[in-house]
Amino acid sequence: VAALSLLSVVSLTLLWGALTAGLRAGRACPTFPGMFGGLVPPGVLGAGASIASFLQEPLAVQFVHRSLAWTTAAGALAVCAVCWGAGG
């Protein structure tokens, strides 16, 4: 179940990666690991944010891709720990 959940997150991350590349959103924020010094870049979750902006605005698209990637990392480490605990 854990691996299947992780597969969903990884698939979504890959799809969002394609969106990020297609919109050339990789250039929207050149800082890492934070985004312009914070976890959330300024303006992305502000008053003007909408669902459409997470699919169209380069900065918001990169933010979603990064958030999914961190979720994937946490999930992968959890699955690794579970497998290790179950005897490999």
Binding site: T13, A21, G26, F32, R66, T72, L77, C80, G88
Partner: protein, 277 residues
Amino acid sequence: VLLALAVVLQISLGGLVVTMGVPIALASAHQANGALVLVLLVALLHAARPSRPAGSAPPDMTTVMADRSRRSTVSGMAGNVAPASDAAGEGASSLEPPGGVLVWLVIFIELLTFAAGLLSFAVSRNGEPAVFAAGRGALNQPLALANTIVLLTGGWTMANGLASLRRCSVEASGRWMMGAIACGGLFLALKSVEYADKLRHGLDLHHDTFFTFYWLLTGFHVLHVLAAVAILGALLRGVRAGRYTSRDLLDVESGAAFWHLCDLIWLLLYPTVYLLA
């Protein structure tokens, strides 16, 4: 472990892609490694799937563990002779490479990823030759040469460990594998000395373009060596417990292949980062 490693590598590559202004080689490496994450996850799901004849009840974990334990005991009692069921039940196809297809897929994609990173390094070096020459001059060449010898020795000892296991010499195999693990540990110790020296002189990730590449490329490689040492440790335990026999070597072969991948990556990194002007 490989999945977690690939994800960590993916995040680091992503960071490098955005901070370096999305160079095409690094973006390609990021995409190739993303595909590797998916492949490893699908392989994990495939491996975790219980295999049983249609219509039979699913085995519970107790039955599976008891069966594994019995097989280990049988292998141990039989000394170095593999039970016939090992060859019949787990015999791989003659077309399958040593260690199985998955580890070779991992090796292929890892090499693609590192090749893209090294290509990007070479392109950046052409853009900033003075920065890269100064960076290379600040590296500890004798330590890097020592690390090359240590890793090659580790590859040799692991190859001997596998050959010993094929000849049914379990004790000799364990000793050779212990040697490979010791080489891995020594490599990591020397690398720690090198990293501490760089940090002491303020040559960190953000010092300049050369050191951004230096830390990321050699850092990914160190992560691989760490994972390989952990894998070899688990395999050594299995060998000493009699879990692997001359006819049931798939896990040991795939671990050895991953260990040799670490050698191979270093043999690409060492001349590119430390030697070539």
